[in-house]
């Protein structure tokens, strides 16, 4: 049961994410959005990390959806482990989830 739910979630999630990213990229290119500007391409060779990189809303949503795939898989696994009384496995899934969450808040 867990495997079927996980697999279905990942399969649908990937397709939806690819669709959102494709639409976002085409819209951004057509609108000449700064996140897809030729000027930005030139900075790519410099290696200077931008403090505030320009973001295009649909593309950002697509990238956020991409992060939701492993996070969602962990939440699903953790819930199934909890219901099956596999508490240690549920705890490991929670630790991985927390580590991913932590990496969003760490500033190097």
């Amino acid at each position: 049961m867990m495997e079927r739910v996980l697999s279905g979630f990942l399969r649908i999630g990937v397709k939806f994410c690819a669709m959102v990213l494709s639409i976002g990229a085409v819209l951004a290119l057509l609108a000449g959005h700064p996140s897809f500007s030729p000027a930005l391409i030139h900075t790519l060779t410099s290696g200077v990390i931008l403090e505030e990189s320009p973001r295009e809303p649909v593309v950002s949503a697509g990238i956020a959806l991409l992060f939701l795939l492993p996070v969602g898989a962990l939440v699903i696994s953790s819930a199934f482990f909890w219901v099956k009384r596999e508490r240690s496995n549920a705890a490991f899934a929670a630790v991985v989830l927390l580590t991913i969450a932590l990496s969003f808040f760490l500033s190097f």
Binding site: E3, I63, S103, L106
Partner: protein, 256 residues
């Protein structure tokens, strides 16, 4: 505008190629994306690594859905071993700040060379049948190696399947198919931890990441279909030469 379109299309095409080759060789696209972006387009390695690690999440999710459905991937083991890989990935991203880009090129070159040797040795592996029952051995040794694989993943923007699969196959004595499927399942978590840190640093630029994600994803699908028609075992031998050439190119970039 025209430059932007051309650049996007070029990165997309190169990523499709990386996805096809990566899928045929069972390495994922990440290990080819970084050399292609840096050597062909002259992109700085930090941006190439960030774009690559984001694309790795997509390929892992796409590939592991089938492995999980057919119960080839060991979900419990994968989640347990993701604890050290995700922590390692964050350490890898942190280390990348203090690492001279030339060292990153050198490390990448070493890893490509190692992959080539491993691939050449395993070129007849497709014929080896897998036993259905298995018992996990040396769990803590495997756990430690996964930590190192996570650091490498965060540093170089790859899934580190090239380290994870031998750790499970050779050290933990898992069948090769289970090792490969479980590694694929784990890679998404490792990459998510590393990619989140790169995203917050502002290194994930949509102009580079989006065509890389879509390209590798499409390439991996094409590669998976081609795999049934092409002699993958023989291809491994041939592509090990390509990996050696890329390793030399990366080494030249490191010591130039």
């Amino acid at each position: 505008m025209l430059v932007s379109w051309m650049f996007e299309l070029s990165v997309f095409s190169v990523s499709v190629l990386a996805g096809v080759v990566g899928s045929l060789l069972g390495l994922g696209g990440g290990i080819f994306i970084v050399p292609l972006l840096t050597l062909v387009f002259g992109i700085h390695i930090r941006y190439a690594v960030a774009a690559s690690i984001v694309s790795v999440i997509a390929t892992s999710a796409a590939a592991s859905s089938a492995f999980v459905r057919h119960k080839v991937a060991n979900v419990r083991l994968g989640i347990f071993l993701s604890v050290p890989t995700t922590i390692g990935a964050i350490i890898g991203v942190w280390l990348s700040d203090y690492c001279d880009p030339r060292w990153l090129f050198a490390l990448f070159s070493f890893l490509l060379g190692y992959s080539a040797i491993l691939m050449f040795q395993n070129r007849g592996l497709d014929k080896v049948p897998d036993s259905e029952k298995y018992q996990i051995q040396n769990l803590w040794a495997g756990f430690s190696i996964m930590g190192v694989a996570g650091v490498v993943s965060g540093l170089l923007g790859i899934g580190s399947g090239i380290l994870k699969v031998p750790a499970m196959d050779t050290v933990m004595k898992l069948p090769i198919k289970v090792s490969s499927a479980t590694s694929n399942f784990m890679i998404g978590f490792t990459a998510a931890a590393g990619a989140a840190a790169y995203l917050m640093k502002g290194a994930v630029l949509p102009v580079l990441a989006v065509p890389a994600i879509l390209g590798v994803f499409l390439g991996a699908k094409i590669g998976a279909k081609l795999m049934t028609r092409l002699p993958a075992a023989r291809l491994r031998g041939a592509f090990s030469v390509v990996l050696i050439i890329t390793a030399v190119q990366m080494a030249i970039k490191a010591f130039k």
